[in-house]
Structures are given as structure tokens and as C-alpha cells.
């Protein structure tokens, strides 16, 4: 019988594309970052291609990220000057006339897409770029926006839980996007083998401050009630896009006419670092007033504040989990989306032969 209790510290699939960095973070100066438990040294070749190598020299494991990028596509170990090309092959051993044929560092597939660099830590034979999660609102010309990277001191699953159930907004984000209708309204959860969707509509409500401001950006002087939606799209293993917005009440948004409203996409993708830390990349995209950098900056700053509240909660939650190893999780009806996410991830872990036995983690 399958146990009903959720894993408190969930392992992460390795056969997956994870965002390693915003594309602009990878430069000709090496960037050190750990993704899915693997420390990486990342840089760009002379022709702009991203490279991700294991951040440990073959020789004595000195971090290559402390070294420098040289020539067309090489990195030089900061310790003894051993050089590797972008495939991780040793191309120079300064102290001898030949190169040891065993000398190499693992090189990981890495691809620029949707303003991010996506890396594959698992079996390279399975690294199919077509399986990179859809983040098209990041680069679609009908959308604009910007975001940030949060270093979250918690298991990545806690962030996914947070995004899959937005009733927490009423309590965590009471001054910006929270309102009591969130907990009161009905929601519908559906799933496929790789996706989970949670859809929630709140009809004929007062807009919370964040949404009133957005409505007034598009409809100056707007007053009145709105229909509000939150449609959460999860794609395995850890990307969540949330289609959010409000429209003037009764103008047909639930039926598909959003012309009398404002629409945003909260783009989230979470890359596990260790089992208790993760890199949380987010962006807020919108499809109105595309030319306004002022609105882009205001939205980014506003969401920064909102997500700061989540970050504090997630950190405290992880600390409480670790401080109470003998207590288990219980679930609520509102966790349906998050629990489907866990199931899909657990299937992937099982396929990799790494599904933990009960009680093996988090204790």
C-alpha cells in the first residue's frame, strides 16, 4: 500500500533540464553554482556558447571556477594551469610534454533558451532539448517583464508546494495580493503525465491593491469590482507558470474575453542545489503597456517584495521541519495540486531508481 504521508525532504530527478542561471549571468568570467548536487563552473566561449563543466580539476579537484577563461573555449585551472576545452577535455598540462589520456572533467549539456541557461546533470544520452519546459512568455514579443533569482534555504519541493496552492496569499501576502475570497473560492485540479493544472476564479470581488494598480495602468482612473483568475501550470520537474489577472466584473473573462482586464504570467522555475537549498528563478511577464520600463520595474520590485515574504516563510518552514524530525506532514484538500506534483516527481525518481524508501530521508 502506498503511504499517504508526503515526503518532507524530497529528492530531485537528475534526468531533467534545470535553469542554471539567467543567460546574462554566464560570461567570460567563470560562474560557480551547484545544480542538482553537482558543482558547476560555467562560462561562455568566444562565440557566445554557454559551457558547464564540473567545478573540480581532474588533478587535485581545485575549483575551475576560480580559474580564467582562455582562448576560444578553454578554462585554465587556477592551481597548476591545466587547461580544458568546452567538452571538458584536457588540452594542456603545462609541466609535461604529453597529456594524460585520462585527463578530463565532465561537461554537461547546457542550452540558452527563454532568457535562461538550462543544464542537464543526468544521463547525457537522454538530454533532449525538446523536453525543456515551456517558458515562452519570457521571449514572446507579445509579452514583457523581468525577474530575479532567489537563493531559497529550503527543499525545492517546499517552493513548488507554495506555488501550487495560492490560498497562502491571504495570510502571507495580506498587504498586496491577499484577500479572503482566495480561501473561499472553488478550484479545479487536472493533470497529465508531465503537467498539473490548478484553476481558480473569484468573481465579482474587490481588487486587492496590487491588481487595482495594474488595472489603473491599463485603464486610468479605474474603479469597481473585478473577476480575478489564477491558473497554475506546472511542468515536471519544477517549472510553474501562473496565468494571473483581473478583468472588469461581468465582462466575460471566464468565457475567454480578457480585453477588459490585465493579464500577467508569473514565471517560476526552481533548480535544486542540495536537498535543503534551491535556486528559485522568477519573472513577472505582462501583455499590456509593453513599452513601459517604469511598469516593468515597478512590477519586478513589487513581486520582489511579495516573494520576500514567501522566502521568509519557506526558510522558517525548513528550519521547523529539521527541528521536528519525528513529526510528519499531513495534507489538506487545498494540497491537491501540490500532491499531484509530488506524484509526478516521485514517478521520475522511481524511473531513475532513486525513490527513497519511507523514513530514509528527512529524519
Amino acid at each position: 500500500m502506498q503511504a499517504s504521508t508526503a515526503n518532507k525532504v524530497l529528492d530531485y530527478p537528475r534526468n531533467a533540464w534545470y535553469v542554471a542561471a539567467w543567460d546574462y549571468e554566464i560570461t567570460r568570467k567563470p560562474l560557480a553554482r551547484t545544480i542538482a548536487g553537482r558543482p558547476l563552473a560555467m562560462y561562455r566561449t568566444e562565440d557566445g556558447r554557454p559551457v558547464a563543466l564540473a567545478d573540480a580539476c581532474w588533478h587535485r579537484l581545485a575549483p575551475l571556477s576560480m580559474g580564467k577563461v582562455v582562448g576560444k573555449d578553454e578554462i585554465q585551472c587556477p592551481y597548476h594551469g591545466i587547461r580544458y576545452n568546452s567538452a571538458g577535455r584536457c588540452v594542456s598540462m603545462p609541466a609535461q610534454e604529453t597529456i594524460n589520456p585520462s585527463a578530463l572533467v565532465p561537461s554537461f549539456p547546457i542550452i540558452d533558451r527563454y532568457r535562461y541557461a538550462w543544464v542537464w546533470i543526468g544521463d547525457p544520452a537522454l538530454a533532449d532539448p525538446d523536453t525543456i519546459p515551456d517558458m515562452s512568455q519570457m521571449t514572446d514579443p507579445d509579452w514583457t517583464g523581468d525577474g530575479e533569482l532567489i537563493y531559497a534555504p529550503c527543499n525545492y519541493q517546499l517552493v513548488l508546494d507554495n506555488l501550487m496552492d495560492l490560498t497562502h496569499e491571504e495570510f502571507v501576502h495580506s498587504s498586496s495580493i491577499g484577500q479572503e475570497e482566495l480561501s473561499e473560492s472553488d478550484f479545479v485540479t487536472t493533470h497529465t503525465d508531465t503537467t498539473v493544472k490548478v484553476e481558480r476564479w473569484m468573481l465579482d470581488i474587490e481588487p486587492p491593491p496590487f491588481w487595482l494598480k495594474n488595472m489603473r495602468d491599463k485603464f486610468p482612473g479605474f474603479e469597481g469590482r473585478v473577476d480575478r483568475w489564477q491558473i497554475i501550470h506546472f511542468e515536471a520537474p519544477s517549472t510553474i507558470r501562473i496565468d494571473v489577472g483581473v478583468a472588469k466584473a461581468g465582462t466575460g473573462a471566464p468565457q475567454g474575453d480578457r480585453s477588459q482586464g490585465v493579464n500577467g504570467y508569473v514565471m517560476n522555475t526552481i533548480s535544486p542545489e542540495t536537498d535543503r537549498t534551491c535556486h528559485y528563478f522568477w519573472s513577472f511577464q505582462r501583455n499590456y503597456r509593453l513599452d513601459s520600463q517604469l511598469i516593468t520595474t515597478q512590477l519586478r520590485n513589487g513581486v520582489h517584495g511579495v516573494f520576500g515574504e514567501d522566502e521568509a516563510m519557506l526558510k522558517a518552514q525548513q528550519a521547523a521541519i529539521d527541528a521536528n524530525p519525528d513529526y510528519e506532514f499531513y495534507s489538506l484538500n487545498i494540497d491537491a495540486g501540490g500532491m499531484w506534483v509530488r506524484r509526478l516527481i516521485e514517478r521520475r525518481l522511481a524511473a531513475e531508481g532513486r525513490m527513497p524508501t519511507l523514513g530514509a530521508v528527512g529524519v
Binding site: 564540473a54 573540480a56 581532474w58 579537484l61 576545452n85 567538452a87 571538458g88 577535455r89 584536457c90 588540452v91 609535461q96 610534454e97 604529453t98 597529456i99 594524460n100 589520456p101 585520462s102 578530463l104 572533467v105 565532465p106 561537461s107 549539456p109 547525457p124 544520452a125 531508481g353
Partner: protein, 327 residues
């Protein structure tokens, strides 16, 4: 590469031992703790030769998907040092000690083209790579050299699996490989992986350097067990330690020194790292450099030797000798 270099010993049961050619046998094991064996990986096996404990490395030719079973091919020749005979004598049900798969010769996917070159039993390491490249839909060619078809293991299987991508060179049929021609046809952006006798690999390395191709794109593995000459006995002297001993054909120079009580430095024991290097004070005969550590210039100078693999040979004239200064 740290990830696949951790030596973990375990027990494995022989489930099959069959002759592929007059001198090559295929041996299939069921290891106690299966670990996935990627192309290019090998196992070390503990063998007892004349009462002494020794370790031999064998490339994995194929394995079940999670490593539940794995196969090696073992070639016994006049130059064998005893390990091959022990392996050939294994029977189904016998238990050996072996390591989990070790990886020093990984295949990298994503190159625009590949040449896989095998000489003789070197096909063992190459066959798995060819299968992976075929599965990945890569642009690759397998070049397989041998002295006669009857001595070339897996030939029929390779013909079936790779068709026109397989190029066969057979000495007895007068179709010996022209190495210079092969290297001149290599795509400069591609990679060449090779495994075979040192004469073949030295010739490719020389042609590679002459054509000024990137050394990083020439991939090879050698266990240091083949030379330019037949192994013969020779005498080693280390005056500083007052040691003189004979190195039989069945032992390496390093093993003979160890047996004589000398504490010599070493690491890879396959002629790659250069840590076992000794200075040559005098030599009678020629040094059969079996390492890949020295450049051609350094080999020709004959002033230093990698004692883990290299030998002295007097071309059948009798016993050669070498006088060394160790680190």
C-alpha cells in the same frame, strides 16, 4: 574524473565463458552489486598467478542496462603475463573479486563525427561505443584491424550492427590499415577513439601530431600491456639500494622491483601519469617504451623510463639489463 573513479571491490559470479576466436574468450559475470557500465568503462579483476595476488584491467564489451550482467573479452598471447590464462580457465559458477565499473575512457556525445579505431582485442572497448553512437544517431565510422578474420572477435555482430559504417582491415588479406591515410581523412572537428596494440596507437598519435589536430580530440586507453617487442627477461640494477634482480616476461619492471623489496612510487600502473619514472643510468639492449607519458623526443632520449609498463629487450640476443636511479 572523480565520479567513476572510486574503486569498490565486490564479488561476481561467472555465468558464461566461451571462445570467440582461438585466443579470445568472452566471459560474462553477474556482479553482486550491479552498477551501470557506460561505454569505455572497465573492471579490475583480482587474479592469483603462481600464488601471488595480482590485478588485471579488462574493458567491458557490453552490459545489461543496469549492469546486472557484464561481459569482457580476454586475449591470451605469448606476451600474456599469466592473468589471461587464469581468466580463460574460469568456469560458470566460479566467483571472482572485481571492482565496480571504472571509467577513464568516456565517450562524449555531441561531437559532429566520430572515428572508432580498434586493433585486435581492442574492439572490446570500442564495440560498446559504436553501439551507443548508433543508438544516438551519431555520424560515426568503426575501423577494425586484425591479422585474420578468424582472430577478430565480434566481427559478424559488428557487420550486422553497423553495415557500411564498419571498415575492416585484415593483414592476411593484404588490406592492412594505412594510418596516415586514416588520419588524413579525419574530420578536424570530430573525435577519434582508439584501443589496440601500442604500435598502432603510436602510429596514430604521430600522424595526429603531424597533422596538427587537437590532442583533446584523440581519445585512447591503454593498460600498458602491449609493446613494440616481445617481452623477454632482463636484469634490473638499482645501485643506490644495492638491488639486482631479474624481470621475467610474466612480471613488470615495477612488480619485480617490489618483489625485491624496493618501495617504488607509482599511481596509475598503466603508463599514463609518469609518477613511477626512474632515471636510466645505463642500458644494455633497447628500452621498449610502453607508456603514453613520454613524447617521442623524450622516448628517443632513453634517459628515463616508466617502470610500471616499460621493459628492456635485446631482440633475442639473450638478457638485456638496465641500471636505474629511483625517486
Amino acid at each position: 574524473m572523480a565520479s567513476a573513479h572510486t574503486v569498490v571491490w565486490q564479488r561476481a559470479t561467472v555465468i558464461e565463458n566461451v571462445a570467440l576466436t582461438p585466443a579470445i574468450r568472452r566471459i560474462v559475470f553477474r556482479p553482486e552489486h550491479p552498477v551501470k557500465a557506460p561505454p569505455g568503462s572497465h573492471i579490475d579483476v583480482r587474479v592469483w598467478i603462481d600464488g601471488d595476488d595480482a590485478t588485471r584491467s579488462y574493458s567491458i564489451v557490453d552490459a545489461a542496462s543496469a549492469g546486472e550482467t557484464l561481459a569482457i573479452s580476454v586475449f591470451e598471447s605469448e606476451a600474456s603475463r599469466g592473468g589471461a590464462a587464469v581468466m580463460h580457465a574460469l568456469r560458470a559458477g566460479d566467483v571472482v573479486e572485481m571492482t565496480e565499473p571504472l571509467q577513464d575512457f568516456p565517450l562524449r556525445l555531441g561531437a559532429p563525427s566520430y572515428v572508432l579505431l580498434a586493433g585486435g582485442v581492442g574492439i572490446t572497448a570500442i564495440a560498446g561505443m559504436a553501439a551507443s553512437l548508433a543508438a544516438a544517431g551519431a555520424d560515426y565510422r568503426v575501423v577494425y584491424c586484425g591479422r585474420s578474420r578468424a582472430h577478430m572477435a565480434y566481427l559478424t555482430e559488428l557487420e550486422g550492427a553497423h553495415g557500411d559504417r564498419l571498415e575492416v582491415h585484415v593483414r592476411d588479406e593484404g588490406t592492412t590499415l594505412d594510418v596516415t591515410d586514416l588520419v588524413s581523412r579525419v574530420d578536424p572537428a570530430g573525435e577519434l577513439y582508439m584501443c589496440g596494440p601500442i604500435r598502432l596507437m603510436d602510429a596514430v598519435r604521430r600522424a595526429w601530431v603531424e597533422r596538427e589536430l587537437s590532442p583533446a580530440q584523440l581519445r585512447f586507453e591503454t593498460f600498458g600491456n602491449s609493446g613494440w617487442f616481445q617481452a623477454e627477461p632482463f636484469t634490473v640494477r638499482v645501485p643506490a639500494l644495492d638491488v639486482e634482480t631479474v624481470v621475467p616476461p610474466s612480471a613488470t619492471l615495477l612488480e619485480a622491483l617490489e618483489l625485491a623489496g624496493v618501495e617504488a612510487l607509482f599511481d596509475c600502473r598503466k603508463g599514463e601519469c609518469g609518477l613511477c619514472e626512474a632515471r636510466v643510468l645505463d642500458v644494455q639492449g633497447v628500452i621498449d617504451h610502453r607508456d603514453v607519458f613520454y613524447s617521442e623526443r623524450q622516448r628517443d632520449a632513453n634517459s628515463r623510463i616508466c617502470v610500471c609498463v616499460s621493459r628492456v629487450c635485446e631482440l633475442g640476443q639473450g638478457s638485456g639489463s638496465i641500471t636505474l636511479q629511483l625517486s
